[in-house]
Amino acid sequence: MKKKIGVYICHCGANIADHIDVEKVRESIASDEVVFLSRTTMFACSDSSQKDMVDDIKKQELDAIVVASCSPKLHLQTFRNVAVRGGLNKYNYVQVNIREQGSWAHSDTPAAATEKAIQLVKAGIARVIESQELTPLKIEAHNKVAIIGAGVSGLRAAVELADMGTHVDLIEREHFIGGRVSQWGQLFVSEKNGEEIVKKLYETVIDHPMITLYTGTELIARSGSVGNYNLQLKITPRFVTQECKIGAFDKAIEICPVSVDDEFNFSLNKRKAIYKNYESEFPHIAAIDMLNCTKCGKCLEVCNSINLNQEILIENITVGSILLSTGFDPYEPSENEFSYKTIDTVITLQQFKRLVELSPNKLIYRDKEIKTIGFIYCVGSLQIKGDNKYCSRYCCTSAIHTAIQIHRKYNIKSYHMNRGIRTYGKQELLYTESSKNGDVYVEFDPKKEPIISKNGKQTIIKVVDLLTAKEELDIPVDLVVLVTGMVPRKDNSIADILKVPIGRDKFFNEIHPKLRPVETVIDGVLIAGACQSPKNITESLKSSLAAASKANSLISKGEIELEPTLAVIHIAQCDWCGKCADACPFGAILKTSIDGKEVAMVNNANCKGCGMCLPVCPTDAIDLIGYTNREIESMIDALID
């Protein structure tokens, strides 16, 4: 039992102190006989506060500490390290959450929040009294990362990890890599186009001995945990064994009788069942879309590299960590949203960008040359009625950049119906250039959205201009472009397989946006790029580099420390009945014989510390380290004391 405890109550600036009387909390526990010292601190996590705690532990010879501050999910390790630097075992530290479960949850009742904080701190003290000196478990970690999604985020993370000495299995669901960026033309700031960025990354990936690229591959099952994830992959064949001779491949495409919407170009055109999205696409080998292929066999007559009998393969891999970079889907407006799909001159930004890429000299849409364009911003973002309350961040820049391109390429003038332009940072240069080009910006009230109609063959945008005395304008245009933002992937089945939390915006959720921005609550599962939230390429790559570094630091040592949360059997109380073994999902409990008595025994290597064996024991002979009867019961008592 610990008898010389230091207790620190954090103000967290105003986050806690605005709603909880921090000094009153300290006074309430200061006289506890086991509390040797109690202090309040402005920011417990600051370097100076940490140093003070370390000094206290050493000088006052404290045997345990409690910090009442934010959620343990943020700073448990921070203060455990403080304990270690002070010379304590890190498990002689307890963090009490008086912010998320105190001041913030009860900011409406400050006095009651203070009372609750007092009880929570008392419970923390009760728990730390019972704390033991423990040694973390060490398990072998495979120095290999599975990166799911080979868009630019996944590709860049793969290169970074491989350069740091970590093996990478890069898994792409599509037959071609590059993700959304390969659909984009010229990019700001570099002026390179998406294909060039993808090409550069692909060439590095494919030449790197530490990276294995899987295309047409989906993750279908997962078992294991951090350091040792077992993943089952389903590999769909591309039915083309090697690159066809150009002539033969062209003939195979020409002869293919199938014609389906080309998803790569957002249904602006058709493609065949045997296809490449664009000529220099990676890998260079074409693929056959077997969902639409009729197996007529005509392509076989002109190309000997096609094998329609290739079969789906199932492959199992073992990795130490998983990095999700599954990207986003463009928002698809609902039918009639800004007349989408009801007026034929209304398309999305993503369609428009492909149209520009496919139109070298003149911009032609539905057989008509386009000379005037109206962009309508924030379609599917910052929704007042819909669920997408967030700003998609990249769309203002992308729309204005595209407007500049079409001005240069076709001398087209554009109108921008917006809700306030967010071309932050260097991207503001684009706004300036577009304005100088003569583009017209009209700001509208989100509660009074522009209305698109047709007067004969002429498309009209009716909009009330907020900045010119709310004048109602009728703007004739040839084409309306809905500036659609980012939404999470429609098929997010991977979240179910990996149990990754989804946020309110339906994107993957990090532990903390500032302090742990690429980690999820699932140990060893990291997130990068636009699968986490809308991001532009620069932001996506920054997050993928952060996730790569985090994954490497986690597993590259070859072993991982885990919480020593193990079941322990109190032999004297155990009369082997087998119920605990039946309850254990990991086969960690075995029957053994000690001095002729049959009892349960825990195989520590298999025990995952879930505690499922605890409640089924009829003689209460099992404890879970860190959650023993003494610890839990003392907390139950202290919370209501």
Binding site: N97, T109, A112, G503, V521, E633, M635, I636
Partner: protein
């Protein structure tokens, strides 16, 4: 809270789980979603680890209700978690009846890692129900 209020307020003990429901309870705070301040949370690795004796002890000590914020199907340990947690509840209900404690004082619901609003709703409803029963 006045001393009088403190002594009469409905007290609820919540067993949450560190990886699934506790993040949701934290999220509720982050979103400033309010629930009664006499709701106290003890996190465990898994909701199937709650011992019936802990629940009974809570009632003996004076808690008005116990709520298990269960992993549900999100449990990363085992798919059997839902069934096992339900068994704990059923077993504890029997023990509660034996001791003359209303089974209505023990509730369970699956709370996923982003179920902040459902958690708050459960707490508000549970406390309201316990208050009503206490008055009656």
């Amino acid at each position: 809270m006045s001393e009088t209020t403190k002594n009469t307020a409905i007290k609820v003990l919540v067993f949450s789980t560190e990886k699934i429901s506790d993040p949701a309870i934290d999220l509720a705070g982050l979103l400033k979603l309010h629930y009664p301040p006499t709701v106290y949370v003890i996190p465990l690795p898994c909701s199937s680890a709650v011992k019936p004796k802990w629940i009974l002890r809570a009632f003996e000590k004076g808690y008005d209700g116990v709520f298990i914020a269960a992993d549900g199907t999100d449990c990363s340990f085992s798919e059997s978690c839902v069934e096992k947690t339900s068994d704990i509840i059923a077993q504890t209900h029997i023990l509660m009846k034996e001791k003359g404690i209303s089974p209505a004082k023990l509730k369970m619901a699956a709370i996923c890692s982003v179920c902040a609003e459902p958690f708050v709703k459960h707490m508000n409803n549970f406390v309201e129900e316990l208050t009503r029963n206490k008055i009656n």
